[in-house]
Amino acid sequence: MTATDAAGGNYLLAGNTLRSWLLTHDHKRIAILYTAGITFFFLCGGVAAALIRLELVTPAGDLMSPETYNKAFTFHGVVMVWFFLVPSIPATLGNFLLPLMIGARDVAFPRLNLFSFYLYAGGGLFTIACLLAGGVDTGWTFYTPFSTMFSNTHVMLAVVGVFIVGFSSILTGINFIVTIHTLRTRGMTWFRLPLFVWSLYGVALVMVLATPVLAMTLALIALERLFGIGLFDPALGGDPVLFQHFFWFYSHPAVYIMILPAMGLVSELITAGARRRIFGYNFMVYSLLGISVVGFFVWGHHMFVAGQSMYASIVFSILSFMIGVFSAIKVFNWTASLYKGDITFSAWMIYALGFVGLFMLGGLTGIFVAAVALDVGLTDTYFVVSHFHYIMVGGSVMAYLGGIHFWWPKITGRMYPEMWARFAAILMFFGFNLTFFPQYLLGVAGMPRRYQSYAPQFQVLNVLSSAGASLLAVAYLMPLAYLLWSLRYGARAGANPWRAAGLEWKTTSPPPVRNFGEPPVVEGGPYDYPVPTAKVRATRPEPAGP
């Protein structure tokens, strides 16, 4: 009997029935269920984005009515934020890798893990029902008074969907925190944890502390909309800015729910791609935790022109600049980790390097909009749209896809076609910049967001942006095609095709049901890569092709 057999055998072959997948308690299978779910919602949100960019090719609103356009960007936002970006890395790669990386057999609460997935699916059903019923037009932020008093679209269906999916987030967060505290294998001390695990810990804290406030806020929308209880309507004794305080208390940290796991993930990719230890491990840990905590202090920068007191705005502005310090530590340390590295340009490394560049551009423009005086002019322009897409799409999605490629051999036991993957990664980088860099210029020129028609002088940049979106769509569809192809035709992967450090590479590909034959013992720090020498460089293998 092999060690794999002793640990339950290949998890992919542990049951072939639909029931064995839908009722599984195995964190690896649940991660795959989530992957299927978020891919579906990514495609749904992508279709809405394509319609928006198609409409904006010409200055006139000639493809859809203003109401339909409002519904398209709302659907795009709701789906991409809550059903793709928030669960993307934690629920898929996080679920799959966390127990493997700390030498555990599973997460602390396997049943709760499955329940989280079904809450996610249930929330998704409400959102799809909302779309089929005619959609919602409030924007993904559900701002009052429009959402509570004036919108005659299906606000409540969307709100209930997001409310439910929030609980999925909370339960995943609780599961991760308890898992990291209680299930680390022998020798896996806190400061031997891979940075991806630290990032999951930070994001789990944010999920648990922030998401209940979102649930409460959405419940308050329901109270005012359905029962006329005066919470946000001044005529009924409410405060119109209160909604935005509550909403952004969750939704700004939610940005870090989306980007923190990406930061941890990219740290794994860069160290493996450069065969170097991470530069300044402790500072990377403290900056991850710093972003998690200080990220809660900055929500008011979304409200500089919403009627918020100017004194509060100044405080929020200063606190927002602090986030830039933690982010800069990470960018400098990733760059320093490459120094004298034996760098490979595998597809996943191209994604990781792309992430660093795009995140830096998104982060720097974040400093622009953190400054009150600049933000007053830039609020609600395409500058803001571009800024957050550089962080969330250029950052999180690039990292997610990099991670999917890096751990694909581990997850499926198959190699993906390297050349196609490199081509897709490069195309995605150019497509992304062509889509969103013109939007910075449009924003500076004063083009407002959320309009389906615009002044003719903005057309050239809009056409460029829509052309970039076409490239981006092709680049996103390519991995879907070749990764599915590789499931059947890809070359068999060994346990550690990238010669990467980390416990997950010490078990078979795909891992057995219980992850390890014997619980591994950790005797050193993470990223235990050898110092590069001429000999190592000479023997470095090329990434295996199909």
């Binding site: 299930l183 680390r184 022998r186 001390t189 502390l209 305080h245 008011g300 009627g307 100017m310 405080v315």
Partner: protein, 109 residues
């Protein structure tokens, strides 16, 4: 803690949970306090309405924390986690009030 001996802990290994009777009495007390809150709306006491309602709310929160969340009898770690939750809530209230209390009235309003 030695990683070798670390085991997941559950409530079952901690102090005895409150009995069904305690839980039901807590529920009755909460409903009675809810009635008081609603009733106080019909008694004009000026500023003391707010004081009374905040007092009732604190009493409700204490019942939930002591009986339902078992903060009085369970491990210090659980109390720390609960305190973190309250600290975060205080953060929301404090920075929210930082806006509300420093707003300058618009001209003419």
């Amino acid at each position: 803690m030695n990683a070798r001996t670390r085991q997941p802990r559950s409530h079952r290994s901690g102090p005895r949970p409150p009995s069904l009777a305690s839980n039901l009495w807590a529920l009755v007390a909460l409903l009675a306090l809810l009635g008081l809150t609603a009733g106080s709306a019909f008694i004009p006491m000026g500023a003391f309405n707010t004081v009374a309602n905040v007092g009732i709310a604190v009493a409700k929160a204490l019942i939930v924390m002591i009986i339902y969340m078992r903060l009085a009898t369970d491990s210090p770690l659980l109390r720390m986690v609960a305190m973190a939750g309250f600290a975060w809530l205080a953060l929301l209230v404090a920075l929210g009030l930082a806006d509300l209390l420093t707003r300058v009235p618009l001209l003419g309003s």
